[in-house]
């Protein structure tokens, strides 16, 4: 006895020999043409307003006052310091999170242990915590009012309102990217290949470098690129811990905010355009990886419908 679930069509209806034009050939699994065209236009309009237009606006606003102003605002010392700090932060945060991400994904996908799903949830945590809260917890921990604050002050270590705080906050918010990308991938691959390698006499590192890494390389790269983009562009968390000292603890996004609040719109958009270029490079690389890694598993052409 099978429960009549929503998946099951009415049995009587199935038996009825109804043959209409709609059910023959491709039309049965296609939508009518006006639906297709309408959907495409609706989607393109929505995405156009929300995705394409902002991109155009950034560059138009950045160059509004001419190329000289643009380059002057990018070369200005505070701007240069912000660019440098952003690069430094990403340079520290991204590799750390790569190592962690691979380790975490490895542990989660290849081994069974109690509390596994809890670990997965915890890894996702920074995604569900507001960036502002992420920054706040570091202020609470390391700030002068915080737990470790007095001890740190005694030893002349300054974390909050200084560069290390920015790096820590960035690490926190970018922490799930690599792991998250890899976990489903490695779970899907299972560990048959690793077991085979072991049977053939490979050691732990050999298995990792020769079997696991080549299998996950595209996923890994993907995670790294997204992690880097977020690390360079993080605003909320970094803004809470940075203290906004110009030329010292300002990253590019924070510098954008300062300029914008000073009504220096051209300057703000000039800095923003740098980040936008970074974004576009990120997206291009990402698509390239998509294309490279999914080359063999593309959709069969019969399944995409021509309008």
């Amino acid at each position: 006895m099978v429960e009549p679930g929503p998946l099951r069509l009415n049995f009587m209806e199935q038996l009825k020999p109804k043959i209409t034009a709609n059910q023959r050939g491709g039309a049965a699994v296609n939508e009518p043409r006006f639906v297709r065209v309408g959907l495409i236009f609706a989607v393109l309009f929505f995405l156009g307003v929300f995705l394409v237009l902002p991109l155009v606006v950034v560059f138009v606003e950045a160059f509004k006052k001419g190329i000289e102003v643009y380059f002057a605002s990018v070369r200005e010392p505070n701007a240069a310091a912000a660019i440098w700090l952003t690069l430094l932060t990403a340079l520290i945060a991204v590799p750390t999170n790569i190592v962690f991400g691979v380790a975490a994904a490895w542990a989660i996908s290849k081994f069974e242990f109690p509390g596994k799903s809890l670990l997965v949830t915890l890894i996702d945590l920074p995604f569900s915590v507001s960036p502002v809260v992420s920054g706040l917890i570091y202020v609470l921990l390391f700030g002068l009012q915080g737990w470790l604050g007095p001890w740190l002050a005694e030893h002349d270590i300054k974390l909050i309102f200084a560069v290390p705080g920015i790096v820590l906050a960035t690490m926190f918010v970018t922490f799930p990217f690599v792991a998250r990308e890899l976990i489903p991938l490695m779970q899907a691959q299972g560990n048959e290949e690793e077991v085979a390698a072991r049977v053939l006499g490979a050691g732990g590192w050999q298995i990792f470098w020769r079997v696991t890494l080549p299998n996950i390389k595209w996923g890994l790269l993907y995670g790294v690129i997204l992690c880097n983009a977020r690390a360079m562009g993080e605003f909320g968390a970094v803004s809470v811990v940075s203290g906004h000292i110009r030329g010292l603890t300002n990253t590019i996004p924070l510098h954008v905010e300062i300029l914008y609040n000073e009504y220096n719109s051209a300057g703000a958009f000039a800095m923003a355009s740098l980040l936008t270029v970074l974004t576009l490079v990120t997206l291009a690389l990402k698509s390239l990886i998509d294309w490279k890694s999914k080359k063999n598993t593309t959709l069969s052409p019969e399944w995409t419908i021509r309008v």
Binding site: P6, L7, L9, E13, Q23, A28, V29, L39, I40, V43, F46, L47, L51, P54, V58, F100, A103, A104, A107, I108, F113, L119, L122, L125, F127, S128, V129, S130, P131, V132, V133, L136, I137, L140, W147, M171, F175, L226, R230, M232, G233, F235, G236, P253, L254, V256, E257, F269, A272, L275, T279, L283, A284, K286, S287, L299, W303, T304, R306, V307
Partner: protein, 259 residues
Amino acid sequence: MGFTVVYLSMIVLIPLSAAFLRTFAMSWDQFWATVAGPRALASYRLSLGASLVAAAVNTVMGLMAAWVLVRYEFPGKKLVDALVDLPFALPTAVAGITLTAMFAGNGWLGSYLEPLGIKVAFTQLGVVVALTFIGLPFVIRTVEPVLQDIDPEIEEAAATLGANRWQSWRRVIFPELMPALLTGFALAFARAVGEYGSVVFISGNMPMRTEITPLLIVTKLTQFDYAGATALAIAMLSMSFMLLLTINLLQWWSRARYA
């Protein structure tokens, strides 16, 4: 494995629990006064309400977009598909100032909308717009792979069994997509509730009207009211935790029901 746990505790768990423990320094009355004060309540209403609207818009549009991107062929499709991730990759501060410039009274879109009586920048609608932008890719990206994996034969089978296109969509495809839609909605919603960077620029930050909870936390912080900021953070964390739990349950239920 050990390394994973240690790193996780260092970066995430210890700071988080420190935040929780810290609120115990406040008395219950103080805590309640901060968390349930009128300004805080107004900010929750806006944060949760606007996020809900934005996530709902994204679910509908995301489903349509995923469908179009997976099933149809049109010029520029690859480019569009690549651009979908823009809100993930674009720093929120950039998104914030750009959207504000677009929707301000003298902006590209604002100058057309304002004569129609639609004010976006510096209103609650602006908050919704910003949150829609940042949550845009979630539903598309969760639905796309599921849609790709649906075997065309299932639909053909439905069609041969006499289902018309709408029926087979509604009763065969949609149930398959349901868990992914819920996931996408949850992600977009969770992201929107905590969003700060893009909203502060477009919202105008008027207390009681366009002040989101994360902004209120930052305001408290800049006034060195650490306890107040923490209390609000705890309130927000508990709310998003409860929402995520609910959504996980929903997902579990829909999987049990439709799988």
